[in-house]
Structures are given as structure tokens and as C-alpha cells.
């Protein structure tokens, strides 16, 4: 078991290194001449040269990478060219906002979708099952901005129940802030519900079709006992893993939702800084998100190992 965790950790470190290199490479190379990209068309070649020198863009790539990586690890993330603020505080601030939004979405979607998937799997072709398969499928596939827009029109414009923006007025309490976040969280909920519910359904079906489910029934065990100890115990680990693995898609959804609702989260920050070539911010956002996603995947893997006796007690 310990070997398992160590192996995963090592893989994560390697992947992180690769990601860091790629992020750096993209950010530094793609815009072409950085100085020019930042100053625009009308700057003189001299100004561009000076800015490049300031930014250190004229040094060899590897040197720049090492420099950047060491600074980053130490906590010095540079300064935003656009907003003239330290990148770290900017990113942390925005990240907090995004986390709040994510938590609102996750608290709703996770229990709901796992439960729905379980019920669907246990009663194949029943009402819940039909709902999960057909509707769930559609929900996953509809882009967040589409569902967001439709929801906005219905709830904010037509019915006037929920606010149009996502950001509560300054100084509002947690409750109000959450109220403002309901609408933006819904597209995320839809997106994740479909996928998680269908996965939970699939693992539950696999359990129900397994011979040991038949054994449990033919032992004459009460239905509740079968559901908790025979079905849930075997389908939950896989479902939990799926949830944790959704982080990547969640982040993607954040970018869209934050853009649509103009919410100052890390997704919007990434988008804006990429479009405006604010290199340091782009790098910081990308790397932070990568780390978060990787940690979530690691937690998913490890929790699966813990919950599955075959992995926990590998070998006789």
C-alpha cells in the first residue's frame, strides 16, 4: 500500500515537472517577441529591446526557466504587467473566489449525482435510470455557457428570482454571497451531474451484474443490507475516484462560467491574462491549476486504493 502511494507521488512529481516546462515554454515562446507583444505595434525597437532586457527575455531559454522555476518555488511569482500587482496575491485572491463557487457547486452535485447513479444502477430501466442515462447524457454535453445563458434568461430575466451577476455587493455576508453564486454554480452542477451519475450508474451496474450480488440475494439477505454492504461497498470507491477526477473539467467550466457572469475567479484571470499577454500571471495561474488538479487526482487514486481491499491487501 505504501509502495502504491509512493509510486503515485513520484509520478505526480514527474508530471508536474513536465507541465512546468510546457507552461513556461508556451508562455515565453508563443507570443513571439514578448516585449513587442506587450508594448504593441507603435513602440520603437529601442523600447522593445529595453523591455525585453528588463524582462530577461534576451537570455537563453534554459537559464530563464531555471530562474523562473526557482523563484516560483520560493514564492516569488513576479508582478502582473497589466495590473501592476504582485502575482501571488492576485492569484490567491482569485483562487479563493473560485473555490467558493466550486464548493457551492460540489456540495450540491456530488451527493445528488452519486445517489442518482446508484439508484439508476440498482433499478435498471426504471424511472431514475432512464432519467440518468438520457438526461444525464445531454447535460454533460451541453456547454456551460449555453446552460448558463438559458438559466439566466429564465431565472434572472423572466422570473427575476435570482440576481444577474455573480458578485454580491461589497461587505455582504456569506449567505448573500452564496445566493449570488447559485445561478453561476448551476451550469457546473449540470455538467458534473451527468458525468458522475453515469459513472456511478456504470459501476453500480457492474456490481449488480456480478455473481456476488446474486449470492447475496440467494442468501436471503434483506434488501437494505444488500444495498449498503454489497452494492455500495463495491461501487462507492470507483464513484469517489470519478468525483476527484472531475476537477479538471470543473476548472474548465470555471473559466466559462466566470466569463459569462463576470466573476473575478482564477478562470477569468487566466483568460484575461492570456489574451493580454500578461505572461507572469498566465504562468502562475496555469501552474497553480495544474497542481490542484494533480493533487485531486492523487487523492482520487489513493482513496480508491484505500477503499478497495484488493489493493490495500495486495497479495496473500
Amino acid at each position: 500500500m505504501r509502495h502504491f502511494v509512493l509510486q503515485r507521488l513520484l509520478q505526480m512529481v514527474v508530471t508536474l515537472a513536465i507541465v512546468a516546462i510546457l507552461v513556461f515554454a508556451f508562455s515565453e515562446l508563443l507570443p513571439g517577441d514578448i516585449g513587442r507583444a506587450m508594448l504593441g505595434r507603435f513602440a520603437t525597437p529601442d523600447q522593445v529591446l529595453r523591455l525585453n532586457h528588463e524582462l530577461g527575455a534576451d537570455r537563453p531559454l534554459v537559464e530563464r526557466f531555471v530562474d523562473w522555476a526557482t523563484h516560483f518555488a520560493a514564492g516569488d511569482w513576479g508582478t502582473s504587467q497589466l495590473l501592476d500587482t504582485p502575482v501571488q496575491s492576485l492569484v490567491v485572491d482569485r483562487l479563493a473566489n473560485s473555490l467558493l463557487l466550486s464548493v457551492v457547486a460540489l456540495i450540491v452535485v456530488v451527493p445528488l449525482s452519486i445517489l442518482a447513479g446508484l439508484m439508476a444502477g440498482v433499478n435498471e430501466n426504471g424511472l431514475v435510470d432512464r432519467f440518468v442515462t438520457v438526461v444525464g447524457l445531454s447535460m454533460t454535453v451541453i456547454p456551460e455557457f449555453v446552460s448558463g445563458v438559458v438559466l439566466l434568461v429564465i431565472f434572472a430575466v423572466a422570473l427575476h428570482i435570482l440576481p444577474v451577476t455573480a458578485q454580491a455587493p461589497q461587505g455582504s455576508g456569506l449567505g448573500t454571497r452564496i445566493e449570488y453564486l447559485i445561478l453561476p454554480s448551476l451550469p457546473l452542477v449540470f455538467e458534473l451531474f451527468g458525468y458522475i451519475a453515469r459513472m456511478a450508474r456504470a459501476t453500480t451496474l457492474a456490481v449488480v451484474e456480478a455473481p456476488y450480488y446474486r449470492t447475496a440475494i440467494l442468501k436471503g439477505l434483506p434488501r437494505r443490507r444488500i444495498l449498503t454492504h454489497h452494492v455500495l461497498r463495491n461501487s462507492l470507491p470507483a464513484s469517489v475516484t470519478v468525483v476527484a477526477a472531475q476537477f479538471g473539467y470543473l476548472v474548465g467550466g470555471l473559466v466559462v462560467v466566470e466569463r459569462l457572469f463576470n466573476y473575478p475567479g482564477i478562470g477569468k484571470l487566466l483568460l484575461d491574462s492570456a489574451v493580454h499577454h500578461d505572461i507572469r500571471v498566465v504562468e502562475a495561474c496555469a501552474l497553480t491549476l495544474a497542481v490542484l488538479i494533480m493533487v485531486a487526482n492523487l487523492v482520487a487514486d489513493v482513496s480508491y486504493g484505500v477503499l478497495n481491499p484488493r489493493v490495500r491487501y495486495a497479495g496473500r
Binding site: 508563443l30 455557457f145 446552460s147 445563458v149 439566466l152 473539467y249 474548465g252 483568460l271 491549476l289
Partner: protein, 289 residues
Amino acid sequence: MSELLSISESSGSRSAAALYYVRILMRSRTFLVGGVVVVFWLLAAAAWPFIVPYDPQAVAPFDAFSPPNAVHWLGTDQLGRDVFSRVLAGSTSVLAIAPAATVLAVFAGSLIGLVAGYYGGIADDLLMRFVDAQLAFPGLITAVMVLGLLGPSELNMILLIAIFFTPLVARVARSSVLGEREKDYIGAARMRGERSPYVMFIEILPNITGPIVVEGTVRLGYAVFTAATLSFLGLGLQPPSPDWGRTVSEQANYLQDAPWALLGPAVALATLVVGVNLLADGLRRAVRE
């Protein structure tokens, strides 16, 4: 082991088997519904110049913000342009980008998955590292970064989407190959001295097309999803293109004044992606039989 009768037992040739598949597909309601929707949009994309009631770009300031009525079925936007026509015309971009990217991804992914699954070893490890990295960094984020930094363009979008979907197709191909590789008929082929290319393409490939086709169709749905989302984020086609994603992004500013201009392209997009996924679902069921 018992004698199972099958519809195409009598002829058993390739075409009869294909016919069998088509019969199963036709029986599936999901497949048919999805098929109808997709065909509708394909026709719209191809033939919109002939069927639009108004020129999608025609500006008519005095007609701005009119709600849906008999003249403008979906109303007009802030510039008085007919929303219905713009919706029809907007189908082209998504339907040009998404299939192109998907086809690329399927070809590349199948090849890579086939080779990695067959040979194993380093090629395989490399592929799996790639897939892991892909999971760590979802395509959308990278696309945002790259397109933002490079500048939006249709070609870049196609390439990016293709690049991100290739490992996913490869993974499906690879695991199918792994399932077939240990089977005895492969051993029998080796004992005849068959070379690797023969084994990969003549022995293994015909048996893994099913899962690849299903994955490809699913990818198509996500390609539409991704292309539209990127346009929405401003990283795709630029105005005044009636591209759906772009339009939604633009019209969001006029949410209170002309919600119909917003809903038109949004719902159109929703129907297309759902249609494609219903197709995929139907295919998946047929393949399982």
C-alpha cells in the same frame, strides 16, 4: 458453445454483417432522433444561403430588438439583424471545425494507440504519460492559454482540439488492442511468421473499430462543445461572424433587452451537441451487440 442463429448466418459476407449493424441502429430510437437533428444541421450548414429569409449580416437599425414575430421568427438583435438567419448561418463554423478536428484525432489516435498497444514498452509508457499529463491539464485550459497567447484562428483551433483528443482516442484504441493482443489467433498469426504491420492492420484493427468509432462519435460531440466554448471565450472566429459561441458572448450584454437573440444560438448549439451524443449512444449500443 450452443448453436446461435444470427440474421446474417446465411450469407455471412462483409456486406451482410454491415446490413445487420444498420438494422440494429435503425431500431434504436436514440440513434434516430440524434440522426435527424444532426442531419438537419448539416443541411442548414450546407444550404443556408438558399434558405435564409434575410441576409444574416444585413443591418436594420430601426428593427432592432424586436421580439419574435411573424416577420422575424426569432426576433432581431441590437443591430436589427434577423436572429433566425444568423442562427442558420452560424452552423457552418462549428460543423466545419469539429468534424475536421475529430477526424484528425481519430486517425492519429488510432494509429498511436495501435502501435503503443501492440509494441508496449517505451512507446506505450510515453503514451500513458501523455494521457496523464492531459488529465492534469485539461484541454480547455491549455487551449485558452495557447489561443490567447497565439491569437485566435480557425486552423489553430482545429489543430489544438485534434491534439487534445488524440490521446483520448489513442487510449481507447490501446486498451482494445491490449484486449486482443493476448488472444490465440494472434499467436497463430505469429506462428505463420506474419510480420508486425500485417498483425496490427489485418488481424487486430478490424476487431477494434467498434470502440474507436464510438469514441470518435463521442469526441465529435465534445469537439462541437469545445469549439463553441472557445468561440464564446473570444478565442475563435471574430465578429461579425454569426458563429454561435461568438454570438452568445456578444449578446450576453443585451440579456435584458433581447433575450431571444441569446437563446436562439444557445438552444441551437444545445440541440446539435445533444443530437451528436444521441448518435454516439445509439452506436455504442449497436456495437455492444
